[in-house]
Amino acid sequence: MTHVLSIRDLNVEFTDRGTLTNRPVRGIDLDVSAGEILGLVGETGCGKSLTGLAALGILPRGARRTGQVTIGNDPSQASSEAGGSVAIVFQNPGTAFNPVFTLGRQLSDVLSRHRQISRSEGKAEIIRHLSLVGLPDPERVYRSYPHQLSGGMLQRAMIAMALLRKPRLLILDEPTTALDVTVARQILVLIDELRHKFGFGVLLISHNLGIIRDVCDRVAVLYAGRVIETGTVDAVMNNPRHPYTRGLLGALPAGRTHGQRLTAIPGTVPGNLLSLTGCAFRNRCSHAVTDCSLTDPLLTETGPHQAVACLQEGEL
């Protein structure tokens, strides 16, 4: 299968006046195939968003990426030249649109930047996309201002806007976190449907393993800027090998009633990773041994569809 995104040894570094201040992404390898949904999961601050932004080449101020990002078949070392073939949708649909322009106007701006197209054709194309994402009465949505629509409708419009660019890769950064459960579900269903229809690859970022389990084909669990476990969703969810993945799964209250304790992971994600040696998870890990503070565990295959970065993997 062809990869629409492949990332090799991606690092994101923050520098301040020439000195390195932080390295929140530390050597990530990822592949997304056409028509596939890859889930990127981890707690807040693990570097999920930075990985997504780095793939697009739109890092925040002061950040620099190293490593190789290949979109489609053309390796793109530099900035957002990937242009038409990647699109990103962010968490908060309420703030992603400009409140003073109609949606039609904002979608036209995107369309005209990517394609030479006449006004009337452009409008027809936008309306077609708005109905494609399941928005009823797309004509009205076209004329609406962002505040006139609900959060779920705006998120659909965001997806329509992303589709206008005919992406080969769609990056979704917490696309449903700001939405109600029923609306969130509809959005996830929509994404699932669209990728089958258009065959683009999806990188779905979320802190909720439940969402990942529902819609993704493969998953990469991120901790402190590293992939610590990856594989097919079935393999990883049914047989999590890394203590962190197990912690995340144990934290889900789904299906539990009171009396049963949740297995919360103690502590928090480390903020700065520069002076780190050994396994980044060891302060929170109940299986840690002395070697964990000395040796940096590498991602190693544990099965046909699974790889884990943990020194104690065999013992668990």
Binding site: T44, L56, I58, A87, I88, F90, N98, Q106, M161, R165
Partner: protein
């Protein structure tokens, strides 16, 4: 501006959230560190304060500064002895400017303090409580604000009689509504904050909520406003003196000096020009600092 290429704002503690937790001193340090104009403003302010405090020891002719005349040295152009020349009564202009700093700064500080003392509590109560109290207060401030401050001050001074103190009272009367409105607007938005709701849910008395949760969190904009206002009041007090409604001769006052030298502007330009320049610099200093503080506070206005 396509939303698909925006960098999302960091979710935890955005710029506004961070600012809200800065202490004024730290804020000042930050402003000076990265903004040259603010540093210039601060230097001017420090100079004015030094002159105001140590003026009588720094002035070459302190007695002339306070009004003693010297008939043998009238209208001298700037020279090695009188650096900025002398006025029509033979007084050293430099000494009078130096000694004029104290009354200028005192009156503006007192006026701003008085205006803040009246306006802040009224605005806080009105903004927090809302309702008819708020309505009534806002109508009153509107009436005050409908008059130009200088006009209002002139009327007051005309009734109370001209003097520096009365000019101060007059200015404070016309200034407090601005503080009341500023604080009211802040209080109105702070009232909706989660921590205020939490305090109400805990049964904390209203006055404590207003002072602890509302006032404490609108101190920074007040500080900015006060900084700019000190400069503005120096100008206003000078204007009142200029038209004879403020400081009375022979006391040193920049506005008064400009008035005294006005008639001789073509023959002895230094008499009016240097005090005018002093007013200009002082106002500029406070404005520069105040504006930079404001820019730093308001993320929408930050210059890139």
């Amino acid at each position: 501006m396509s939303p698909t290429t925006q960098i999302p704002a960091p979710t935890r503690s955005g710029p506004a959230g961070e600012q809200a937790t800065l202490k004024p001193i730290k804020l000042l340090k930050q402003t000076l560190g990265r903004d040259r104009l603010a540093a210039v403003g601060a230097m001017i302010i420090v100079l004015v304060v030094i002159l105001a405090v140590f003026g009588q020891w720094l002035a070459p002719f302190p007695d002339q500064g306070m009004g003693a005349t010297n008939a043998s040295a009238r209208n001298l152009a700037p020279n090695a002895w009188n650096w900025l020349g002398t006025d029509q009564l033979g007084r050293d202009v430099l000494s009078r400017i130096i000694m004029g700093a104290n009354p200028a700064l005192t009156i503006s500080a007192v006026v701003v303090a008085a205006a803040a003392l009246i306006g802040i509590p009224l605005g806080a109560v009105a903004g927090y409580c809302g309702g008819w109290l708020d309505e009534a207060l806002m109508r009153v401030t509107e009436i005050f604000q409908a008059f130009p401050p200088l006009l209002l001050a002139m009327v007051t001074v005309a009734i109370l009689g001209p003097s520096l103190t009365n000019a101060g009272i007059a200015l404070a009367i016309s200034w407090w509504p601005w503080y009341a409105r500023l604080v009211r607007a802040e209080a109105k938005s702070l009232r909706e904050r989660s921590y205020v709701e939490a305090a109400r849910a805990m049964g904390i008395p209203q006055l404590l909520i207003i002072s602890r949760h509302v006032l404490r969190n609108c101190m920074t904009p007040i500080l900015v406003q006060a900084t700019v206002d000190i400069g503005t009041v120096i100008l206003a007090a000078g204007s009142l003196a200029f038209i004879g409604l403020g400081t009375q001769p022979p006391l040193p006052d920049w506005g008064l000096m400009v008035a005294e030298g006005r008639g001789l502007i073509f023959s002895s330009w230094w008499i009016a020009t240097f005090p005018g320049l002093a007013i200009f610099l002082a106002v500029l200093g406070f404005n520069l600092l105040g504006d930079s503080l404001r820019d730093l506070l308001d993320p929408r206005q930050v210059k890139r």
